[in-house]
């Protein structure tokens, strides 16, 4: 007999878990046990609800009350007040700057412009329960497809929907499927690419963790369409929870007869297994991924032949991204026309984005294609943190580019972004405020790509390292005229000549920052000055004598004893010895220590003298 009156949904996505969600869940179990309420309240672990910045978050049904930043100490109050007395705890609800309270999930502004297709169940169902997935019409699409449609019909529906690959390139899904469908072979494979490596992207992880059956169902529909009987989930080893959840989902589906031989009484037989990576970004590239599944180094190979012709073990193979599979069941349930009614002319449906960086609502969102960057960052994302100004947004991770204030009204679709030097990529959106140095950011992404280059082709292996060296020189004060042009020349050559997507797109962050923030590069090179005071060699610390109270704290905390002075004379930094650790600024009680852009004149003079000396030697 069920006496349940409350469903308590605790977000157990990695974000909330990292913020302590599991401990809170344990505490709820304890308190409910103590108060004898365990049989009235369902505690359900869900996947990512999206607003990671508010984590740990929870939603309490039937009312749909939304609590954020819950701690272990809040649990007792929630039980006593909300569960026993029916008075939701206002303190834990979301408030905005105008003291407005958003009590239920529906009211929370973060969710308002979102349209959830792939993420529909994330944060709403228990990902470990196949029953809950079925309750949301799960596996009905598969059943309908298998009992009423031919493989070619399936591909027609996908074509009509306009679905394009969500992993980055935006290749039309139906074309891939059609190619493999048309290739005759004794064995074909379907692979789910869950090797999400882009810094700033975590939608695939959240989907695999939050709604694994949806991805599995999408994969099986694809398998039926192309004639595959085996599938592989390739998931990076950094995602242990996603691996566990998908393995569990496969076991449940098998047990229920939704996977295996003659699914839904049809001729369709299918088996899937999970393979993990071991820490290599390049394995997100489909040929590299295939080599990794085969048990080798994840080196990409030249295309053609495409995997659609010769993929895993030389057999025709489709490789689709997690989110792509996540859209498929819904396309069959609600129809291709419904899906195609969302988005723009060339980019249909919705896209999941991961909002990170200096933005208020970091987290996972799903919005219709064609939304403007302004809506995405300021309406859904809640704008910038700490009253800072928006400076740039990096889309598409290390393969993408930076866009600026002038692009805020650009519509987010594959073509519009590409035209402007950025790309959809997997959907990572890193928002940056005016405290970020764009040269430094470009250097950071380049460093990432140099680390992750597999080393197989020389443009990527050697060329990227050259670009990184130049960027390092620019940021440590050794940049020279012509460096910008050299970076552009190298970047364009590497884009054209590299073997795989990693090398082809790695120069993008540098090229796009040069395009939109050229004056910052010039200031670094000509004026030896970093306007944002991020590049330590191109800024200095200075003590404001009018403010200094002569307390000597800075001098005592300086690791290289380069600060001297007295109570009367105040304190001075000896610039030539300063190591820019910033301790003096941190400890100053009256904020007399300032960061000043540019090299200090003394340092600059020494630097120039040394530079002249080496150039004479060179002669």
């Amino acid at each position: 007999m069920s006496l349940k009156r409350i469903d308590l949904l605790i977000c157990c996505g990695s974000g909330c878990v990292s913020a302590g969600a599991m401990k809170i869940k344990e505490r709820f179990h304890e308190v409910l046990q103590e108060k004898n309420l365990a049989n009235e309240i369902n505690i359900i672990e869900t996947g990512c609800m999206g607003p990671c910045d508010y984590g740990p978050v929870m939603v309490i049904y039937p009312e749909g009350i939304f609590y954020k930043k819950v701690t272990e100490d809040d649990v007792e109050e929630i039980v006593n007040e909300h569960f026993i007395k029916g008075r939701p705890v206002t303190r834990l609800m979301l408030h905005n700057d105008e003291e407005q309270t958003f009590s239920t999930k529906k009211e929370v502004p973060f969710y308002q412009k979102q349209v959830k297709v792939a993420l529909a169940n994330c944060g709403f169902i228990d990902p470990d329960s196949i029953d809950e997935y079925i309750a949301t019409s799960g596996y009905e699409a598969l059943g309908t497809v298998l009992t009423t449609m031919t493989p070619q019909d399936v591909i027609h529906v996908i074509r009509k929907s306009g679905l394009r690959g969500r992993g980055g390139g935006g290749f039309p899904t139906h074309i891939k499927w059609q190619m493999v469908h048309d290739n005759v072979a004794d064995e074909k494979y379907v692979i789910c690419n869950g090797d999400e490596g882009d810094p700033g992207a975590f939608m695939d992880r959240s989907l695999l963790e939050g709604d694994p059956h949806r991805i599995l169902e999408g994969m099986m529909i694809a398998a039926y369409a192309i004639g595959a009987t085996a599938g592989f989930f390739y998931i990076r080893a950094e995602y242990p929870l996603a691996i566990k959840r998908i393995r569990h989902a496969i076991a449940q589906a098998k047990e229920m007869g939704l996977m295996g031989d003659n699914v839904f009484g049809s001729k369709f037989c299918f088996d899937a297994e999970v393979r993990t990576g071991a820490g290599a970004f390049v394995c997100g590239e489909e040929t590299a991924l295939i080599h990794s599944i085969e048990g080798g180094r994840g080196n990409p190979s030249p295309k053609p032949p495409y995997p659609a012709l010769q993929g895993l073990w030389g057999k025709p193979t489709i490789v689709n991204n997690v989110e792509t599979f996540g859209n498929i069941p819904t396309i069959f349930l609600k129809g291709a026309d419904w899906f195609a009614s969302m988005g723009t002319e060339t980019s249909k449906g919705t896209k999941v984005f991961a909002l990170t960086g200096d933005i208020r609502n970091t987290g996972l969102v799903e919005v219709p294609m064609g939304i403007t960057l302004r809506e995405l960052i300021f309406d859904v994302g809640g704008g910038m943190t700490g009253g800072h100004k928006f400076k740039a947004v990096q889309l598409g991770g290390p393969s993408g580019g930076c866009l600026t204030v002038e692009h805020l009204d650009v519509h987010v679709d594959y073509e519009s972004l590409k035209e402007r030097g950025a790309m959809m990529g997997s959907g990572g959106v890193i928002v940056m405020n005016d405290k970020n140095c764009m040269v430094n950011i470009a250097k950071f992404f380049m460093d990432f790509c140099v680390d992750e280059s597999c080393g197989k082709c020389s443009p990527c292996r050697i060329g990227l390292k050259q670009m990184l060296d130049i960027l390092e020189k620019i940021t440590n004060g050794n940049g020279k005229e012509g460096d910008i042009e050299e970076l552009q020349r190298l970047g364009e050559a590497i884009s054209k000549l590299s073997l795989c997507g990693l090398g082809q797109s790695a120069p993008n962050p540098v090229l796009s920052t040069i395009r939109y923030f050229r004056e910052e590069y010039e200031a670094h090179i000509r004026d030896k000055s970093c306007g944002t005071k991020v590049c330590l060699d191109l800024m200095h610390f200075d003590i404001d004598k009018d403010r200094c109270i002569g307390c000597s704290l800075c001098a005592r905390k300086c690791p290289v004893t380069c600060i001297t002075g007295s109570r009367e004379e105040k304190y001075t930094i000896h610039q030539l010895d300063c190591v820019k650790c910033g301790n003096c600024q941190d400890v100053c009680p009256v904020k007399a220590v300032n960061r000043i852009p540019g090299m200090h004149p003394e340092v600059l003079a020494k630097h120039t003298a040394e530079a002249n000396l080496t150039s004479h030697h060179d002669d």
């Binding site: 007999m1 469903d7 369902n42 009312e63 029916g86 809950e132 079925i134 309750a135």
Partner: protein, 121 residues
């Protein structure tokens, strides 16, 4: 599982388990669970509603709770809210009265006027 009909069966059962999160609710019963309500036996009232509804397998009825309504003298207070009908508020409830409300009002749609303390909003 071999057919879509099999799947449908599992789905219906699973949806029943998840109805607290769903929107297919015909009647919502809201028990006032403020301090005074609880002091007057609101917990027993709530429990009886849950039991009766579960026993009768009423899948479209939801029992939930709210805080103090200010009707201290009539606690425990219960609202019965049906789509498109004015809200009915019952006062001075106890487990026996709950059973009658479930049979008469919830199942058969006849308001038990003896216990009603207010209607409408």
């Amino acid at each position: 599982m071999k057919t879509l009909a099999d799947l449908k069966k599992i789905r219906e059962k699973a949806q029943e388990e998840m109805k607290l999160r769903g929107s297919s609710v015909r009647v919502k019963i809201v028990v006032g669970m403020g301090t005074s309500g609880i002091a007057m036996g609101a917990r027993e009232v709530m429990k009886t509603f849950l039991e009766e509804i579960s026993n009768r397998n009423l899948t479209d009825v939801l029992v939930t709770q709210t805080g103090e309504k200010g009707l201290s003298s009539m606690e425990p207070v219960v609202d019965v809210i049906e789509d498109g009908k004015p809200k009915v508020t019952y006062g001075n409830m106890n487990p026996d009265k709950v059973k009658k409300v479930v049979v008469e009002h919830i199942v058969n749609g006849r308001i038990v006027s003896d216990y009603v303390v207010a209607t409408g909003n």
